[in-house]
């Protein structure tokens, strides 16, 4: 007995889908679409938020405008009050200025009185000084008078001394005759010479 076997080999191809990439693209497309939808929804939310912000902004703007008007009104009111205060101040300033003028006038008069007082004091001082100067001049004059008197006395004495000397001299000259001197001869008149006559003729 022998063993007999038989084999049967079966063959085929195993394929896979070649459109996986397309599915991937489709998945990507679906995801992108969902993402875009999400973005679109987010953008709508953002848009609504922006509209809300815009409305809030408008409301805030109007509120600010109202506050601005109120501020302007308050400012005008304050300006009016300030103007009134200014008027009152000017009204009060007038008597104040008047009082000031009176004060200045009184001060001026006081200063003038002080000036006059000082001037009088100065004049009095000058007068005292002049009096002392006159006293000094008087004393100087007396001194000079006494000096002149003294000098006169001295001159009198010198004169007397000289007179005495002169008299002594005359007495001596009368006592002792003197010879004529050359000078006395020269003082005598001389006869005109020819030469002198010629000089007169030439003139």
């Amino acid at each position: 007995m022998s063993t007999v076997n038989s084999t049967l080999t079966l063959r085929w191809y195993l394929f896979v889908l070649a459109n996986k990439t397309l599915e991937l693209i489709w998945d990507l497309y679906v995801k992108a679409s969902k993402t875009l939808t999400l973005i679109w929804n987010v953008s709508k939310i953002v848009k609504k938020t922006l509209v809300l912000i815009w409305d809030v902004d408008i409301l805030a703007s109007k509120t600010l405008a109202l506050m601005w008007d109120v501020t302007v009104l308050a400012s005008n009111t304050l300006t009016l009050i300030w103007t009134l205060i200014g008027r009152v101040e000017k009204t009060l300033t007038l008597p104040w200025n008047l009082i000031g003028r009176i004060y200045l006038t009184l001060s001026l008069k006081w200063n003038v009185s002080i000036l006059v007082n000082k001037t009088l004091t100065l004049i009095w001082t000058v007068r005292v000084l002049a009096s002392k100067m006159l006293d000094l001049i008087w004393n100087v004059r007396i001194l000079v008078s006494k000096t002149l008197t003294l000098m006169w006395s001295l001159i009198g004495r010198v004169s007397r001394t000289l007179s005495l000397i002169w008299n002594i001299d005359r007495l001596v000259k009368k006592t002792i005759p003197q010879k004529p001197t050359v000078a006395s001869i020269e003082r005598t008149p001389r006869i005109p010479t020819v030469e002198r006559i010629d000089k007169r003729g030439l003139r």
Binding site: T3, V4, S6, T7, L10, R11, W12, Y13, L17
Partner: protein
């Protein structure tokens, strides 16, 4: 003269695509592309698929009985797919009726018993393609039957 390998023949079943019924006259060409199973399409590989086929093992010897015949899967499919087998009747058509096993050696093989001359035995083959199977050219699985002969 003893039975030789050429006396043992594999035939398709009668129904279209060999998916059940009695034995046909169409012998299965060995080691030929799509000799029993069609190609697994992309959709099938993507989604997963099960394909049943019914074949017949016939003792075509003129006088000798092929004795103590055992059938098993000699070589499991070399792709992501797999074979499991079950014995059928001479004319059954419901592929899900039998209980399938995966005998990979003679010891665990399906016992057919004796096949008289010109007798045949129906065998169900279940090809399982898991979802997401990888592409594979010339996916090959080998079935083997062995018995004794005088």
């Amino acid at each position: 003269m003893s039975i030789i390998s050429s006396d043992i023949q594999w035939f398709k079943s009668i129904q279209a695509d060999s998916d059940g019924g009695t034995i046909s006259s169409n012998q299965i060409a060995d080691a030929t592309l799509n000799n029993l199973f069609p190609d697994t399409t992309g959709d099938q590989s993507a989604a997963g698929n099960i394909t049943y086929r019914k074949i017949f093992l016939k003792n075509n010897h003129g006088s000798l009985t092929w004795q103590s015949v055992v059938f098993w899967i000699s070589s499991q499919v070399d792709s992501d797919e797999s074979f499991s087998v079950a014995l059928g009747t001479s004319s059954d058509t419901d592929p899900e009726a039998p209980s399938y096993t995966t005998p990979l050696d003679k010891g665990s093989g399906l016992s057919i018993g004796d096949l008289a001359p010109a007798a045949s035995q129906g065998i169900w083959i279940k090809r399982t393609t898991p979802a997401g199977a990888t592409a594979f050219p010339n996916a090959t699985g080998i079935l083997k039957a062995e018995g004794d002969s005088l």
